[in-house]
Symmetry: D2
Subunit: 393 residues, 4 copies
């Protein structure tokens, strides 16, 4: 309940921070136990193949040092499966525990953080964590607010992916805007074909070059910038989501806005709908003979009507603020003294969080969808007991 | 768990739809029990004055027929207190039950809906509800997806308001965009002074006239349009919200996106941050001698850092899509037959939902904040037991 | 979260107390809205027939005045369906709201309670409620701790019953001990055949007479006494319940101990197991050719192994304390003054709560089982997607 | 939601089983990561000293091999702190992750289990897990149903203990019945003084000898036996617990019955109340000048009235069934073949689970109480805002 669990039936519970292990170093202890991220995934069906390699594939997407655009930090992000998987690497139905040890807990970094523990870090959670946890707040590397926390989400999402794959649900996320440079709108098919073709994960290959050039300049200026990530979930059946408060849209918003650095979300045409009329924005339904189901001629609704999936692609965009950590001198305040201070907070930073944000968005979307599917399937089964023909009009 | 409850410690559970009472008419039964909305508010402290009049004040803000801009439907939305309040109208700590009977359950309307039960209503939840509930879905007046459902939210929010008032937390919501016409940015003080001065609840009094003229044209064209509602919560203490998944921002997003017709939300500068650099977007902290606390020179973060309140105003904007119900002929499909149909679905509609959306946004923000406060206060008390000076650095 | 909701996927949320309506009397208001009990049932599948009559049938079991053994209070306990049910009395999938107005809110009773508001009522919740809610605690007729609260449980359980009936799950509860007089052990079949044959709901017809005679003497002595209710759930499939913390046994214990006056619960041979050896207590499994499934030669486990149903009858017993309200003079204390007082607290009371407890036990068992079934069915469906043969060894 | 999380505000989430690590052996991996138990404790206040030694102290109570009465298995149960603790071993408010590696994962044991994977283990969860998880169920060492799972509970309870100690709440559990031999009733003070004086943890030192002699005979007979553990929570303030469904009594019952092998629970005089009259069972309240508070002359209610704490000691008893694993030949069935089989399932077993059950009962009681305290404190703070004098009558 204090915020470290997400999901109702398919759920992840996480713990871990950047540097806490650095305070417990003990030569008699394997360094993999010094600390890092940990996740318990509950609601995993039996018979699912789960290996460290399968999880690692997703984790590798978010690890730093993948490109010129991300931090040169070395974070191996190696995952160990701890529980829930038995013979032939098949899940037993028990919760899957996973450990992602921190490999980068150096005393010198802790010392640097310690010297600045009283300084409010502009744009970061340090002040709010201090107000929440007081003098005991974790001042070393952002604590729970560190981007490293997202590794646990991605590991959890990787488990969800194994199930969604079998349900024919595909989730992809990619960059559609960086520092004001906007990619052209894409179909799911085009995005799918192109979004892994550059280090920025942008399916508009021309605009991507422009974005990358711009990011290199931003980086050279010791600055950072924001962007927008678009997420598509294809293959989602109609009827997912619970009215009234737990609409699928509301759960997705909860999931996405819970990711550090995300400051907005929109579904379908989103904020553009504010300028439209109803005759423009209503998607026209029709009967599609080929698939034998109702479809819509446009998808301004982003696949959600009344907050419940309508069978079209779910399409959302999330706004990412510029990386808070920049290599420039910034004005801040010493909490203990109340004095203003000029300070350069870091020696390494990413010019954009978008390169590492997209796999986290994919993970959170997957977890949210799978959770909604569990909710729906039990209900549908009971409905069938009441009336086997309930689904027919 | 099936979506009709919101909140963890301060929580509302609701039920009710538009017309179900019309199917149970019985001369021996008082018509107030025919149906409508019902809400159970849990987590109400003892000693709080709650009367029907206090709740009614908030409810009256969202009721239709308030202006030329809203539907001419007669919905009295009269609230009855059913439980949880005793002598001198003071709460006992027991859950407060409230009933808001439908006063407008006419057989002729049910009959109209029945004739169209197989037609997908463009832009509405009818198709998704059908996919979820099958042949038994509520085809009469949108069922749970009806805007009437928000009356229960507003009643619950009115209880929260009584408590927040005593905590010095003020929540206001107002229209900042309608059909593409944008109001100038406002301070909380200006918004507070002006936002009730016109029927559109827009604090930019000049732009409001323009918006209203436009809306009258939209209405004349039997169309509708979208808009943007801004919500400010002033007086929120720093440190509210739980990392990692239940950030205050995530809970607010969940709350707002759960409102029918809302298709996007942004915090602070939101989507504009995508075009900024970190040196632009980081709000600079300083020590404010007058209040004795850390403040920020700008508030691009919208009062939330790491998803936790930083003591500045919480400022969010939500995008409302155009009212789905328009008085024009639309192309749709008959689910039972799979044939295309041209149809005019209604004889009454609002040209914008914004006029009725703002009190719902206020209610959901209040419920979310109060819930977060409960979560925080128990924790702070225990922290004080561990170390009475925990709050000092 | 403050305790007025039970269940995860099939859930009831309730409110209401004994007399709060008496403080809001208004001639312009229908008296059915003065107050009473209210329940919102979430997780109801579509297509289920729900009428006031169907619910009333269960409610009538617990209403007072059914026999010489219960209070002469007149509580009509008439239920009104408020939402979630539409054409042909079929559920739509929306939450079912129900109202059970108090019909017995007389000023004279409120006045009596008011005079004694500072007196701790021996054996009752008045002191603990006062400690929890302070000066605003509901002193009129026990507030939320009143036995009337259980009407909302029974109404919710009546909805669950409609679904369980179709799943072939039968729940019965009956009295097996009263004031130390113990009935002989019974099979489900015998209990089913006999348990409604006397006003005490005891299937041991001979012992029942003895119990009734004894109860009449207890009543004549202006005293009360305790008893034990046994609950059987027959037809429960094997595999229900979630390890580790939400074992079906744990959920049932939660449900039963939450009923006012219940002070103990045991499963199968329960406390008798403390005196047994493992070779005595282990139920021997065998393959039953007739049903084609594994069965057990005895059922000392009460149908639960590792907290999960094993396909045998679930059998639990709950200990009910004597009715706290007795018509004798008792020593107590005036909270405000701290002085000892001799007082007779009531003019009407039941000699045993068991006559009214059994339908509440049935209701809580049903709600718990149906909730567990929802949890299991979604999971089983996903397991089938991973491997269609997962259920075969 | 699938049962691996307990608690609302102070909560533990666990994973792990007996042997899963044995299927992932990899020389390049530290053996501490092969598997075992893991727990994430959420809701820990900042500033709390937490070291491996502090947690170990509680864990050592439940580890096997402590006496002649328990299994000769070697389970080191060494705990590692993984997260949530920083400088000077003080908690930061982040969730505390802990790992308790299995040190006893031998291929020979896995092989033994594998050979018997199709045999239903009498009295154990093997059949119900098979019905729940199908062919993929964990057949090696009882999986999640293994007693090892309780190590994670005890580790979580040890964190709760650090906080309760500061709140003046003391929880002790001890054996009061073994194989039908009953200890004399004890006061909290006597129990506290004596309960650690023998390997059975029974405060009745004479009866303990008798119990131990009996247990040695049971052991010699390759059998096992049941018992009863009593738990006292002293120093609990009045007013804890939430009506209606989340009564403190109901939460305690949920907690205790969730422990493997527990088949019953009673509060105060429990099942004995069934034979009493109200004039006997009602505890008489009085004003205690010394402490300035209301107390009760007797405590038949076990410290709970209306399910809410009344300031007296909370006293519960739980019935433990005989250890299911016995060293005798038992009749069972081969699930795959449907044939009857005679089998001796194990070569090592405890004659009673009570010696290892009591620290688990202590842990679950502590977690439940602390969780209830969090719930209450936030509420009390808000009540104080409404009326600073709310606690006075």
């Amino acid at each position: 309940m204090f915020g470290n669990t997400f999901g109702r039936m398919f759920r992840i519970t996480t713990c871990g921070e950047s540097y806490s292990g650095g305070f417990r170093k003990d030569p008699a202890m394997p360094r993999e136990l010094y600390g890092g991220q940990m996740v318990i995934v509950d609601g995993v069906p039996p018979g699912l193949k789960i290996t460290a390699e399968i999880i690692q594939e997703e984790l590798d997407k978010r690890k730093p040092g993948n490109s010129r655009l991300s931090t040169p930090r070395k974070e191996a992000d190696r995952v160990f499966i701890y529980s829930g998987v038995m013979e032939d690497n098949l899940s037993t139905g028990a919760p899957i525990g996973m450990i992602i040890p921190s490999s980068d807990i150096e005393d010198v970094h802790i010392q640097q953080h310690k010297e600045n523990r009283n300084l409010v870090r502009p744009g970061q959670a340090s002040y709010t964590y201090y107000k929440k946890y007081g003098r005991y707040y974790d001042w070393a590397g952002a604590g729970r607010a560190s981007a490293r926390e997202t590794a646990a989400r991605v590991a959890g999402g990787a488990v969800a992916k194994q199930i969604l794959d079998r349900l024919g649900i595909d989730v992809i996320a990619y960059i559609v805007e960086s520092h004001g440079i906007k990619a052209a709108p894409v179909t799911y098919e085009t995005a799918k074909a192109n979004y892994r073709k550059n280090e920025l994960n942008c399916p508009d290959l021309e605009k991507a070059k422009e974005m990358i050039d711009d990011l290199m300049m931003v980086k050279a200026a010791k600055d950072s910038c924001g962007g927008v990530v678009e997420v598509i979930a294809a293959g989602v059946p109609a009827g997912l989501g619970e009215p009234v408060f737990d609409k699928l849209s509301a759960m997705i918003a909860h999931a996405m806005i819970s990711i550090g650095g995300v400051k907005g979300i929109e579904f379908g045409d989103g904020f553009k709908l504010a300028a439209m009329t109803g005759s423009e924005s209503n998607d026209t339904p029709y009967y599609d003979k080929e698939t034998g189901r109702i479809r819509f001629r446009t998808n301004r609704a982003g696949g959600l009507l009344g907050g419940i999936s309508n069978g079209e692609e779910i399409r959302v965009r999330v706004a990412a603020k510029p990386t808070s950590t920049i290599l420039q001198q910034q004005t801040t305040v010493d909490i203990a003294k109340g004095t203003s201070v000029e300070h350069v907070f870091a020696s390494r930073s990413d010019p954009t969080i978008c390169t590492r944000l997209y796999p986290v968005c994919e993970a959170m979307m997957r977890i949210t969808l799978l959770d909604a599917i569990y909710m729906a399937e039990g209900y549908k089964k009971i409905a069938s007991v009441i009336d086997p023909n309930w689904e027919q009009l």
